[in-house]
Each structure stands twice: as structure tokens, then as C-alpha cells.
């Protein structure tokens, strides 16, 4: 079973069988009917985009940019090649939804991309798949073969005259290749480093041609939108936050996994679906949108709804929908140390503030965690993050800074205790008990 739980699901409907990912199964579930209808009716391109606009589908990769609007940026009269690219380089700590879409429902992505290609006049697409989920790359290739054999991709789709070819491309696991322009560089065979924008991919993307890049889940949602109509999709969620979304719940819950819920569902409901807190402990904090989203303390989180605006009101970002739940046994310094290490390790090294700043942040947090903190360290950390934020080529600099800022903002006393007492506010045996890796208390 792909998805552990769902409320009014779309993407995860009918994925129970072990052949759910096969073309036959997908077609039985109504798959490729949206593409067929678009092609057979020769639906005007603008109409397809309008439908997506009406659905208020917002990018599921993290930034939450309205998909329809993004599609409308593509120069429709551009004479040369245009591309649609799917970003399946899911690498943010806490996020594991796209891999399940590719594992159980790959044809929804293929259909979504074909419709997108039609709407934007792009004859070629690439799906860039994270290098550490190799079996999904292989599975996607198989799905492509099926779709190609059935005439859903390739030349002259279903006799409509429209051609769309789709290719899978795998990376090697670099987090930065999930940044859309670094992803393009990587497809081009170059080192995965973000490009300076402007120009944006819509005018200068893959191989210098107009390109639209969307997340796997975004593309997977397109067939459902086309089938049910944009308005119905929007109504599944709440205003300005259309549809359902997959949330990857991890951390101190009883049933970590993917859950599909309509946007706007209260966090408390999601937590309940995930089996509640492990060992009945108290929620301490939650990172609601992947590791780069600011951390939210328990009280605020329990009142938040899971949608772009709701999480934003709670002081964080919905991001990719990776919900990291932390209970009262968590040492926030240690948690931040781990996050900072990730961003330090995954900085591409291209631009100065991120290359130098992320290593500095990690070194200082690492020092504090290991009893070497100094009195000025928290101010130093805050100052370094302000020097990184907004000064880098891509958003990784901001992504590395936000956890640091929010952890210090909400748990400053815990950091101060660490610096002053050279040890953690949460006793080590409590931490170990909560980790789940140690059965006996020390």
C-alpha cells in the first residue's frame, strides 16, 4: 500500500494492487482519458492552461508558485524547441512523496507531462529522477516504454498530429540538482550548479530554450484536474489552495509515511492519521514543509491548517509537504546541528555566501552541541544567516539560514543552556529513550 492514509484522495486512489503502476491498471482507473480528450477535442492550448489556473494548483515542489501562471509564461509563439521538465530530484530531508508517486502511479506523471507539453507547445520532456532511488528510475523507464507502445507519448499522439517525447534522466543524488536551473545544467551534462536568474527558464531554459519545470506531484495532479475540472479541484481544498496534497510525515509519530489530504486539513487531523505521537509523548516542535522550512513550536502547530496560507500564518512554509514531527525528548541543538550539516554538505560551492556561510553555521552549531559554545555564538549565528539570506544565486542560502534563525528564535533558552552548561537541557537518557533506537534507558 502506497499511501498510509487519505482523506478524499485523488492521487492515491486505487493504488492497492501490486500492479497499480502498470499502464493497464492506470487506464482501468481512468488514466489517459484526460490526455485523450484534450487531443481528440483539439482543446485550445489556452483553455488547458485556463483550467489549470482555475484549479489554483500551486507547485508541489516547495515554492508553491501557481502552476497555471507558470505555464502561461512560456512563449507560445516561440518557433524553436521548447521543453517541459519534471523535477523528481526529491532530496530534501523529510520529503519522500514523489518517489511513491513514481513507484505506484508513474503514468499520472507521464500523462500530466504530455498534457503540459500540449498546452505549452513543447515536443520534448525530461523527467529528472533523484539518483538515490535507482529502482524508480528503472520503473519509470518501463512505464515510458508502455506509454510509448500505447501511443500516449511519441510522435503523432493518438492521431492528433501533436508529438511529445518523454525521457527519463537520473541524477546522482546531489540535493542542489533539485534547484530547477541546476537540474537543467545537470541534464545538459554539466556540473549541477544553479544559474543566475534572470533569465528565467521560461525564456532561457534547457539548452537555452524556453522550458517549464514542475514537480512530480504537480504533473501527477494535472490529469485529475483535467478530468474533474479546475473548479472542482479547487473546491477539494480551500480558496487559493486547490486540491489535495501528499504529506510525508516523519519523526516521532506512530505511523510515519505518506498521507493524502485536502489542503486546509488541520494539522491535528494529520497527526491523528499518522497514529499520534510515539509513546504518547508531548509534541515539542514541527517542521511542516521540509527541512528548509522554519520550525514551528507545538502550540502554534496544533492550531495550524495544512495549506500554503495556513502554514505561512504559523510562521513557516508548506514547502514540499514534509512534516517532521519532534517530541519533547528532542534536543533542538542536536537537531539543528544535523540540519546545518546537511546544508553545509549540499551547498554547491558556487557563490560565496552559501559556500562559506553554510560551513561557518555548521561549525558553530557543531561546537555548541559539543560543549564548545561561546557567549557570542547565537548573535554570530544570526548575523551570519542575515549575511547569507538574499545574497545568493539560488534559494539554498535561504534554506540553510531559515532553520538556524527559527531554531534560535523559538528555542534560544535551550541553545543558551548548551553554551553555558556545556550540556543539553534535555537529559541524554531522555533523548535516547525518545529516539526509539534504544530500548533500555541509560
Amino acid at each position: 500500500m502506497a499511501i498510509l492514509g487519505a482523506l478524499n484522495p485523488m492521487l492515491s486512489v486505487g493504488l492497492d494492487g501490486d500492479k497499480a503502476w502498470r499502464l493497464a491498471d492506470y487506464v482501468k482507473r481512468g488514466g489517459y482519458s484526460a490526455l485523450r480528450r484534450v487531443l481528440e477535442q483539439k482543446m485550445p492550448q489556452g483553455e488547458v492552461i485556463n483550467e489549470v489556473k482555475k484549479s489554483v494548483l500551486r507547485g508541489r515542489g516547495g515554492a508553491g508558485f501557481p502552476t497555471g501562471l507558470k505555464w502561461s509564461f512560456m512563449p507560445r509563439s516561440f518557433p524553436g524547441d521548447k521543453y517541459v521538465v519534471c523535477n523528481s530530484d526529491e532530496g530534501e530531508p523529510g520529503t519522500f512523496k514523489d518517489r511513491d508517486i513514481l513507484r505506484y502511479n508513474p503514468h499520472s506523471v507521464i500523462e500530466g507531462m504530455a498534457i503540459a507539453g500540449y498546452a505549452m507547445g513543447a515536443a520534448r520532456g525530461y523527467n529528472y529522477i533523484h539518483g538515490e532511488v535507482w529502482e524508480l528510475y528503472e520503473r519509470f523507464e518501463e512505464a515510458l516504454d508502455e506509454a510509448r507502445a500505447a501511443g500516449f507519448i511519441g510522435s503523432d499522439l493518438l492521431g492528433s498530429g501533436f508529438s511529445f517525447d518523454l525521457f527519463a534522466h537520473h541524477g546522482y543524488g546531489a540535493y542542489i540538482c533539485g534547484e530547477e536551473t541546476a537540474l537543467l545544467e545537470s541534464i545538459e551534462g554539466k556540473k549541477g550548479q544553479p544559474r543566475f536568474k534572470p533569465p528565467f527558464p521560461a525564456s532561457f531554459g534547457l539548452y537555452g530554450k524556453p522550458t517549464t519545470i514542475n514537480n512530480t506531484e504537480t504533473f501527477a495532479s494535472i490529469p485529475y484536474i483535467m478530468n474533474m475540472g479546475g473548479e472542482a479541484y479547487l473546491e477539494a481544498g480551500k480558496p487559493n489552495n486547490g486540491g489535495t496534497k501528499l504529506f510525508s510525515v516523519s519523526g516521532h509519530v506512530n505511523r510515519p509515511g505518506n498521507y493524502e489530504i485536502p489542503l486546509g486539513t488541520p494539522f491535528a487531523t494529520l497527526l491523528e492519521m499518522a497514529g499520534g505521537m510515539r509513546g504518547g509523548r508531548k509534541l515539542k516542535a514541527c517542521i511542516p514543509g521540509g527541512s528548509s522550512a522554519p520550525v514551528v513550536p507545538a502550540a502554534t502547530m496544533m492550531n495550524a491548517t495544512m495549506d500554503y496560507d495556513g502554514i505561512s500564518k504559523a510562521g513557516s512554509m508548506l514547502g514540499s509537504g514534509a512534516v517532521i514531527v519532534m517530541d519533547e525528548t528532542t534536543c533542538m541543538v542536536k537537531a539543528l546541528e544535523r540540519l546545518s550539516f546537511f546544508y553545509y554538505e549540499e551547498s554547491c560551492g558556487q557563490c560565496t555566501p552559501c559556500r562559506e556561510g553554510t560551513s561557518w553555521l555548521y561549525k558553530v552549531v557543531h561546537r555548541i552541541e559539543n560543549g564548545q559554545g561561546r557567549p557570542g555564538d547565537l548573535d554570530l549565528l544570526e548575523s551570519v544567516t542575515t549575511n547569507i539570506m538574499g545574497r545568493t544565486i539560488c534559494a539554498l542560502g535561504d534554506a540553510a539560514s531559515m532553520p538556524v534563525q527559527s531554531f534560535i528564535k523559538h528555542y534560544r533558552d535551550e541553545f543558551a543552556y548548551h553554551i553555558e552548561h556545556k550540556k543539553c537541557l534535555v537529559p541524554v537518557d531522555v533523548q535516547r529513550a525518545g529516539s526509539g533506537f534504544f530500548t533500555a534507558t541509560v
Binding site: S347, G349, T352, E356, R391, I393
Partner: protein, 775 residues
Amino acid sequence: MEIEIDGKIAQVPDGSTIMDAAQQVGAYIPHFCYHKKLSIAANCRMCLVQVEKAPKPLPACATPVTNGMKVFTHSELAVKAQKGVMEFLLINHPLDCPICDQGGECQLQDLAVGYGGSASRFQEDKRVVFHKDVGPLISMQEMARCIHCTRCVRFGQEIAGVMELGMANRNMHSEITTFVGRSVDSELSGNMIDLCPVGALTSRPFRYSARSWELSRRRSISPHDSIGANLTVQVKNNVVMRVLPRDNEDVNECWISDKERFSYEALNSPARLGRPMIRVDGALREVDWNVALDYVSHALKDIVSNSGAASLAALASPQSTLEELYLLQKLMHGLGSGNVDFRPRRRDFSADGKLGGVPWLGLQLSEIKNLDAVLVVGSFLRKDHPLFAQRLRQLAKKSGKVSLLSSSGDDSLINLHAQLTVSPADLPLALAAVVKAAAQLKNEAVPAGLDSIDPCATSQAIARSLLDGEKRAVFLGNAAEQHPQAAQLHVLAVELARLTGATCGFIGEAANSVGGHLAKALPTALNAYEMFAQPRKAYILLGVEPELDCYDPQQAVAALKGAALVVMLTPFGDGAAQDYADVLLPITPFTETSGSFVNTEGRIQSFTGVVRPLGDARPGWKVLRVLGNLLALAGFDQNSSEQVRDEIVPAGTTFVAGLDNRVSDVPLSLMVTAGELQRIADVPIYFADPLARRASALQKTRDAVAPTARMNAATLARLAVTDGVPVRLRQGNGEAVLTARADETVPAGCVRVAAAHVTTAALGEMFGAINVERA
């Protein structure tokens, strides 16, 4: 577009960046990765500025100007961002400027004064970066100093045409390095040293020999290739310590080749000749100048009166100054001899006297970027003319179609439109095929003599490219000038240019290839080849080393050894001169004399000495002038090199007059190839002239490895030799034993054996028949 920068209004063209606009209004924005000649990387983030209505500071180098934009380069927001970046740049950078070779000329050091803190908040361990050995020219001993601006990487990719340096790894562990175990071998690599804003890439020969503030900067002109690159020569205690490019957008832009940068080591080498020498009882002995000049003038007079003036000959290097060449020919004509030449590597002189004027490039260097199509005939382009090749590389990258027709398949690192590689003997036929293709495409009568030629698809593609677009050019390279049928190639190129409407030009062999014609250092009797083929009694050699510089060194050395008198005016006293010279007169190289070079576009560039002459060496023009006086010849009363120059070209000339590439009355006669093995001789870049030959660092590069006998697999098989075995090469009476090397870029039936090297000096003609057998 109108933009306001710090309150100053600027009008800039569409597509400009804030950095462009700031430079226009004279506002300085600190930067490291930005360079006017390289692509925009926007990675150092030092140029962050405040833009009205933008929530974040924006990088000036990459942000396009929009109409009405208001920019503040020194507002609180901008300076805070710049200082923040500077702090990040310094946290891992060693703060030991006093022991850094870049200290005093370091952009990071300079900007740290304005934007750095007085103490560091970074209390952690600094990054350690392992050093790299990338060859004898660039030192990468202190890579911890690197700030990852990637200027060197972009230079390689974009200007040199080959990515020899790249940034490996990610995050703080990013480091600039070569591909595992490789060295940096580009002939333009030294420019990366200039581009490096910190002390990461430094000049290996110069390293730790002087501080930048101890050096005086003096202007000079490169004496090497025909571009005439503008140089800044840096001097300490009367010694040339370093050579750097001097910006001249129309000539060398802001680059120089490694040959120009590192040849200065020869100026201070022990091989320099400090005192005049005369052969007495078989050995060369040091004498005073007056003794030496007296000896020479008497000896010359004796030979003229006993054997006639025709028994004298003079040969000069095309790297001599205009003034030297002029006085030399004047001396010879004064003595009554017309045996004077400055083209030692030439074989075919049949166009002499039939030229419309002085052969030259046909257009200005700055016009190359506007060409639509170019055909280069007979050139080892990249090694013969690094900066000219660089201009063609940029052209090809833009939209120009660059084709190459030559006897070498070496990678030009240019995105070529078409390439034809044929044996030297087939070169005129191949060019004729392009001419015929052009005539056919234009529906014009095919020139006589080309009837039997059948143009191949590539020649047709070349001809077609030359017929497209506004401006096109056909350039003849060094190998075309040195070719035994050079005049035929010239005639064909002129015909091709006429048919296609292209410009015909010569890239030019050396610094003064145009100047020698202006100085009239040309034969009225025996030319550079004939003066050795018909041995003379006495020779005067000006800056030339015949065993390395002549078309047929075997023949030249034999003639010199048999001569009664060989007078050499040379800066160097080593080498084969010890065997055949009777008098060695120490003249000064370009850094110690004033003079002029006329580059291939006809631009006359005069320069003055930057250091005092070494030992008793004297400027060549002065030596020749005094010799003229001692021989009681008329017209030798100039008191300065400027006076000499003004006799040749009117004062104040920038571009000389009389340039014309037309040729008339040379009948077209194409020869069909004989089946024997032919030699292809390149002149390796660092053996090409006396200075480069003695520059120790250049001699350690991969371009300076000893010559091998390169053949393709079929030729090797025909000769029953294999890659790596020694082979004996024979031309005339001379032979050389070299290692055979398989090289598929060599045309069939040819063996490529470099000229200009001691190991091949015993061989004969550069492009003649050669015998190869297993040694």
C-alpha cells in the same frame, strides 16, 4: 535606456548590465569574478548593489538595466551586503599577505582595506587545500588562497578554447584543479595568472623574486609573432623581472601568449653575449668593440676588393627591428651587394618583384570579429599565432564560419566550419579545388590550369561559406609562406578572394614580416635560399641562427662553414655560432634597444629600451650605423633610432602605406604529387625564435618536448616501423635519429618532423622528400 547610478544619469544600450553602466559613469563597484572579456558568473557576490524597489541587493555584473532604474552602489544596504561578502571571502582565506607572492597586487587585499573588518569573527579552523603541480608556468602551490571566482575556468573554456582547469567537489571543499594528473598546457595559460584576483595562481618563474612595488612598469612591444602584442615590462635593478600584457583592444585585447610572457627569462640567461668576440687561431676570443668593428670593416673591404661585392651576403631575422633591417640593407647596398634578405624560412621567391605592394593581413585585427567567413591556408594556427587564433575562436563561437586548409590536423580548438588536411605537395591542389568550386558556384569561367581538378564536398563547403555574408577573408599562414610553391598558393588565394569578394591576406611569420618589406631588406640579387645554395665568401647574420631558422639548415650551415668570414650580430653567444662564426657582435634584444615593429595589419609600433644593455652589448642599429661610418658609406649619420625610422616611414604614421597583396605575372602551374615520402615541418612554438629557445620555463612545457617523427598508421606500416621505435631520417647528406610516433592527424605519405630544433638541424628542407627507415 536611462539609468541613475548614485545620482548620476547614464544612457546605456539595451542589454547592458548595472556594471556596464557604472563603468560608464565612473562609479566603482567592487568585484572579483566579473571580467569584461569573460562570461558573467555572478558567483563572488561582491558587486551587490541596492536597486530601488528591489527587496534584496542585486549583483551589478548580472543584473540587466531597466529603463529608469535607480541604483545605489554605496548605500547602507549595498555596503552592508558587500562587507558581508568580504567577511565570507576572508574566513577561509589565509590572512598572511606579507608572505604571499600576490601581496601588493592582490584585489582581495585591496578590497579588504575598504570592506573587510579589522578582526575576524571566524574562530574555527580554516580550510586546507592541497597544492597542485600543473606545469612549469603556473604555480598552484597555495590553493587555500583561492576564492572560487572561476575566472581561470572561464578563461580556459571561453578564450583558450580548452577547459584545463575546473572546479571539483562541492561546498567548502570546492577546489580549482586540473583533470586528474593533467597539466595546464594551453599556449595562453599565463593569462590565468593575471586573471586570478588572489595569490592562488601565480607565475612560477617569477614567484618570490620581487615585490610588485619594487618593480617599475615600462611599455614595450612583443618581438615574437606578427600581432605585435603590447607589453608592460616590469623591471627591478635594471633586470627584466616579468612581462605582462598591456591593454590594447585593437591589437592584443588584454591577453598575451605564454611565449610573450615567459620569454623574458632568456634576456637574463647565461647564454647572453656580453662582449664582442673574434676567432683567433680557431678559437673565439673576447675583444673590445673598436677592435671588433675595425676587424669587420677591414675584412669586408678586403673581400669586396678581392672577390667583388657579390661574394657578400646578409641575412636578418624577421624579428629584427625596422631600423636594424633598414640599416643592414643600406650597408649591403652601400658595399655594392644585393644579397640581402630577411626571410630565412622561405623557399619560393618567384613572386618577388611581382607584388602589388607589401604583403599584409589585408584588414585590421579589430575587423576580424566582423567577418562572416574565413579560410586559413597552411598554418599551425594555434601554435604559430596564439592570439590571432584566439580572435578566430571568438569569431567561430559567434557566427563566423572558420575553415582551415593545411597539412596539420592539430586541434585548433576552434569550432571549425570545415577542415581539409592534405600533404604539403597537395596543398596548392587543394586550394585550387576551392578556387574551382567558387568559380563553379558563381558560374564564372574556371581559371586556366584547373580543368582536371575535381572539388570535393569539403572544398565546395568552404567555397560556399566564402560566398555568403558581407565580409570574408582568406588568410595565408606561415606554412603557406614557407611552402616550396608559396607563390602558387598566393596566386590561388588572390584568385579565390577575387571570385568570392573576400579579402586576401598574410598572417605574417614574425614581428616584422611587414616591416622588412618597408625597410627594403629584400634581395636585388641572391635571396635567403640562394645565398646558401651558391655559397658566398662572407656572411653577415643579424639576429638569425641559420641552423635553426633557415628553410634548409643543412645547406646554410655548410655554406657558413666554408665561408671566409661570418659576422654575427646576436644577443646570444652559445649554440652552433661557436662553430662557424668568425666575429660575434653582441647586440641587444628588444628590451635594451629602441626600435619599431610593423605588425601584420601595418600598424607601426615603436618602443624604447626598458633596461640598460647587458655588458657591452649595443643596439643593433648603432652597431650597423658605426659599421657604415667605418666603411665610409653615405647615409649613416643618424643619431637616434627615430631618425632611422623617419627615413623609412613619415613621422607620425600609425598605419604604414603601400600595403597590397596583389600579385601579377606569376603563371599558375600546379604540380602533381610524386609518390615519395614528404616531410611536414612545423616550427614548434617555443623553438621559433632565439628568445623562446632560451627561456628555461618554456623549455619545460609540453610544447617544448623534443621532436619525434610523426606518421599515421598506414605510413608506419608501409615503412615497417611501429610507434615508439627509433627511426633514421635522411635528407641530403644529413640525418637524424628520432622516435617514430603514430599520429593520425598527419596526412598519408607524410612524416611530420619539427624544424628549429637541434636534433633536426642536420636535416634539409622543411617540405621536401625525406627518407625514413628503422634505425
